[in-house]
Homo-oligomer: 682 residues x 2
């Protein structure tokens, strides 16, 4: 035991194993790939150059063999879904543009064909899609309908005579928008449209639509516009696609959840149109899962740069008259960066639990509705928080590097611009948290589902009305930790994990119960009134969702810490994980201190210890902060940030050598200040 010893002696590879998780191998293989300079965007490239470089990267990703992992063994894959996603997320280190472009090509375009197409359709398109020979778009979002996908206005009307679907954009707002691959590269698109046959609208279905010919000319009847410059992701050619009565063969409808016979008769394995729609969307959850992981990669890179710079950079001679103080030694600097490291650990480890759920559902190991719902809730909630966390982390890192952080060459500003859109795409974070909230309510009080038909469900996108069983586990939490809240909190151990969990989970339970109670009267209300009531508690519900996801992340981190502790092979690494867990937990409790106090959960005297305990944890972690960023597993070729890899240290060394030599010289000018001091002493 080495109680109290700081800094701890840390083997970064032990922590790296913790962070890289179950699918470490795929992660590391792709991490190696991203060191290849040909995958990096040219520093001063034009929009066209950035796009061309990103497109070239698509081929490299396909060649890596990664894209075939999720295929069944019969189709040449290994039914490995989490392995695929884990590796794929690492593309962020090459560039987020490549990650997103590859996500569009393989995950969305290829994924739609894979998950929504039949065998014949797989045969026809899948290999070309997964090899990158057939570049494609995923045309779901419309200008007028982003979050509310069920309401897309593009129509696909079946013409039995011709055995064709007629794809049509009825008005400007129905134009497909922000579509990756559209502006430059896509030859085909999976287009989500309202399927109409025999005078009946069967809801949103996916169609494979050729959009450009082999020569790259846009197909007749299709109009493509370029979205041009965006806040980031400049390597991705987003654009708008409109259809003017464009005909595609009947066989281009992806038929897994709905098919049309030659004479126009519709059939589906799922009767309820609502459940059919959400099941279809559910197959595409991989996008959200991968964004959660991508956000972790981006956060790691930013912290890696900021922490290394903070060890090299010095400013102000505070402790010594000749040696300036390193940024990492300032308390405020520690307070700015260390909680973000603990948060990144929590997000990385929790992401691995999400990957487990994802793999269980997609591999078929657990195809239960409950597991699928857990997956959707975790993916929505984790993605929402981790993408926001990534923006906060990158921004704080950029500010912690001062002016140097603002220079494009040091990577941080570009990373911010790229990650910015992650918070509103693949599900706007606010909408995703509402989805989580509704699931919490459904789980907490089954009777509440009655109000779904009033209006609340529509309010959050109607998904929740389809589900009644949901494994949030909140109902259990309350029962098991009820006593701890009143006892352990009074103990002296502010860092007690049980107290942390009690506070965090009690908060979730109380908040959910409070909203559920408030919404009870909605059952007997009109649509308008129940929607208004729901709206009055929207903010509270979203806050409850955030509290729930924070709890899950804390629990993920806590479980992993206990695993390493129990294993007993790495005491110092277990100890630092405990510090990380405590910092994460106490930072959350500090953030919500008002709530805990207001609800009588945290005695004043105890509350006052939280700040100083956080200070102390930050100081301890700062001593091992290079180990912590080493554990992220990135090198200079990933960071590609001169200030993080020696440029600053070299300049400082040169300056110090200069002053050392100067002080030894007899003709070195004396400071006027010094002369005045000497005069005063005389």
């Amino acid at each position: 035991m080495n109680r109290g010893k700081t800094p701890l002696t840390i083997d970064a590879t032990v922590l790296r194993d913790v962070l890289d998780g179950e699918w470490a191998e795929a992660r590391r293989r792709m991490r190696d790939l991203t060191e290849d300079p040909s995958l990096h965007l040219p520093a001063d490239g034009t929009l066209e150059e950035l796009r061309a470089a990103t497109t070239a990267g698509i081929a490299a990703v396909a060649e890596s063999g990664l894209t075939r992992l999720p295929l069944s063994e019969g189709e040449g894959g290994s039914n490995s879904h989490a392995e695929y996603v884990a590796g794929f997320e690492e593309l962020v280190a090459a560039s987020p543009s490549l990650q997103i472009k590859a996500g569009v090509q393989f995950g969305l375009f290829g994924g739609a064909i894979m998950h929504l197409g039949n065998d014949e359709q797989h045969e026809k398109w899948l290999d070309d899609a997964l090899s990158g020979r057939l570049l494609g778009s995923f045309a779901m979002t419309e200008i007028g309908h982003g979050s509310d996908v069920a309401e897309v206005a593009t129509t696909a009307t079946y013409d039995a005579e011709a055995q064709e679907f007629v794809i049509h954009t009825p008005f400007r707002a129905a134009t497909k928008e922000y579509i990756g691959n559209a502006a430059r590269d896509a030859r085909a698109a999976v287009v989500f449209s309202q399927l109409i046959t025999n005078g009946v609208n069967h809801g949103v279905h996916a169609f494979v639509v050729p959009v450009r010919d082999e020569a790259g000319s846009v197909v007749d009847g299709i109009t493509i516009e370029d979205d041009g410059k965006k806040g980031g992701l400049l390597g991705v050619d987003n654009g708008r696609i409109a259809f003017d009565q464009v005909r595609v063969p009947r066989g281009n409808l992806l038929t897994r959840y709905g098919a049309v016979t030659a004479d126009g008769e519709y059939s589906s394995p799922i009767d309820s149109p609502g459940r059919r729609f959400f099941t279809m969307l559910g197959t595409l959850v991989q996008g959200r899962v991968s964004l959660d992981g991508a956000a972790v990669v981006a956060s790691k890179l930013a912290l890696d740069i900021a922490v290394r710079y903070a060890h090299d950079r010095r400013q102000f001679t505070s402790t010594s008259p000749v040696e300036e103080t390193r940024l990492i030694d300032y308390q405020r600097h520690q307070r700015r960066l260390m909680p973000l490291i603990s948060q990144t650990y929590a997000n990385a480890i929790s992401h691995d639990t999400l990957l487990h759920t994802f793999d269980a559902v997609f591999s078929g190991a657990d195809e239960s509705g409950e597991e699928r719902e857990l997956l959707e809730t975790q993916a929505a909630g984790f993605k929402a928080l981790s993408t926001w966390d990534a923006l906060d982390t990158i921004q704080e890192s950029r500010e912690a590097c001062g002016g140097a952080g603002y220079m494009d060459e040091n990577r941080l500003v570009g990373l911010y611009g790229d990650m910015d859109v992650y918070v509103t795409f693949e599900g706007d974070n606010t909408v995703l948290l509402q989805l989580v909230g509704k699931r919490l309510l459904t789980d907490y009080a089954k009777e509440l589902k009655d109000i779904d038909f009033g209006g609340a469900a529509r309010f959050i996108g109607a998904q929740a009305a389809e589900h009644t069983l949901f494994r949030t586990g909140v109902a259990n939490i309350g029962r098991t930790i009820g006593d701890l809240v009143t006892t352990s909190v009074r103990s002296k151990r502010v860092r007690s994990g049980k107290v942390q969990e009690a506070l965090l989970s009690d908060r979730v339970e109380t908040m959910v119960a409070s909203v559920a109670q408030a919404l009870r009267p909605a059952r007997s209300m009109s649509q308008a009134d129940s929607a208004a009531l729901f709206n009055k508690h929207q903010n509270e519900l979203i806050e409850a969702s955030i509290a729930y996801i924070e709890l899950l992340k804390w629990q993920g981190l806590n479980t992993e810490m206990h695993r390493v502790e129990d294993e007993g092979r790495h005491p110092d690494e277990a100890k630092i994980l405990r510090r990380i867990r405590d910092l994460y937990g106490l930072t959350l409790i500090e953030k919500h201190m008002g709530w805990h106090s207001m609800h009588g959960r945290l005695p004043m005297a105890r509350a006052r210890l939280i700040g100083p305990t956080i200070d102390s944890l930050c100081a301890k972690l700062a001593e091992n902060s290079l180990d912590l960023v080493d554990s992220f597993g990135y090198g200079p070729a990933h960071r590609r940030s001169p200030i993080a890899d020696g440029a600053e240290a070299k300049r400082q060394d040169e300056a110090r050598a200069y002053y050392r030599a100067a002080r030894a010289r007899s003709d070195w000018p004396v400071d006027e200040k010094e002369l005045r001091k000497r005069a005063a002493r005389r």
Copy 2:
């Protein structure tokens, strides 16, 4: 009286007068100027095109006559400093690049000559600088020393024989860095260097150094590098300047605070080298003042765009089966945007009080040391908070516009990138808050100044050691509102202004006292120990500074609200100002609820009312939110954001018309959902 009436009937021009403040006329004149398309950056310009366009704007700014306002009447000006700055801030609406480029040219380069030069030097350079004929840089920051300006390493050694100063960069870290105007345009630079004569270093002084000849070629001995791409401000040509024994005439030393005779004898009107340095820097406070105002302009523009979009954009049919709900009607959307509007009001109104202080000091109306220190503290603290607020506001606005917010054409992402560097330049915000904190400590407990010589002062940049009198007024606050905290808080009026002020100011006083108490032992400690002690409380001190600045901003808003109320001419506008003040105050109290509870200032029952009161204020303000953004005073030519000015509304109208016509058609497809409902009813 119209108690309880919502929405209020608001005359936006009344609120505009409140926001535009004392120097409204200059503000509006420049606001009109920024509508000129020739001042806007080309949408898809190359770096060179963006720079050229920005440089062209400099001439337009000079022609407006603005730049001469601060000159004395004898020099053709009107000694109008705040008027100058107020007008100048509005350039942000043209582009932040133009504001910064103009700030470098007129405020820093011209300002240094104006404030640090003698009459002869004014005669020689000032007119050319203020007309933009002589483009110049302000070369203070070095790669190695950003915040710690006193430690710049560039030397200016006097050669009596030649009557010249030799400017020299002794090592790479001493290279002047991030210097605006350097990479492309500057023909001269004001260079801050250690003045050495007769073997004595007299500290940092400013020298006018030619850097390019008339033809634009860089002067021999000078090396200029281009900083290239940055996170924003792409119209500003930042660069690095290094000097290799570059000679300038003796007359190029700006002599206001230090002169050298022909034979090398140094003299200064200020004996203390430390005070001399900070007095010199103090003349340049205008930069910080103007960034505070610029941050307000940027925040207004972002909110203007987001609020207008929120009124047009609809998503999800929650309250009605056919009409989708406007974003502005969602509670969470109100909660995201309304507090930012109240914060922007507080920042705008407080900025006007800062301009008053600035004008008093610079016009000579109040040249007292106290007023100057108040100015420096306000400028540092206001700038720190308002620039962070601007980033938060722009980011929230961009997210509130979803994918459309990420498109460059809608302005928000560009605005974010441009404003990003405002938080770390002209004083890194963290360093500025430490400056505020040290002033609070100095004011609170005079005896604390003893520790300055130990290390604490050096820790925050040594400025505070020079000052002992400081008008923060914190000592008074405690005495005057002590009773309110214990009485009014228990009253039912959560919105009571007295309670808000009591809570906010009690927090400041308690925090400052706590840090002061903790730092007492530093007096008898070594430099290293006292620095360590100070560092242990650095975070607390910075939090205290933030609390103090928040209080000042609340008070500014409160005072203005009372002025409009007392005037009695605009009851509805006074009422909305009260809602704005309450929302601002309660949002601050909610943010720090943990602290207030933890210190027993806020009973639980009272604390629980704060959230719902904020919800209700947000809902009320949302009803007048178009009035509130109208009050910002910007039009389509300032916003230049299609989604804010009709593009979205037009698309929605078209879609609605389509569906209206469709529903009337007999052959309109029926929804499968509807068929199933009908079948179920049978």
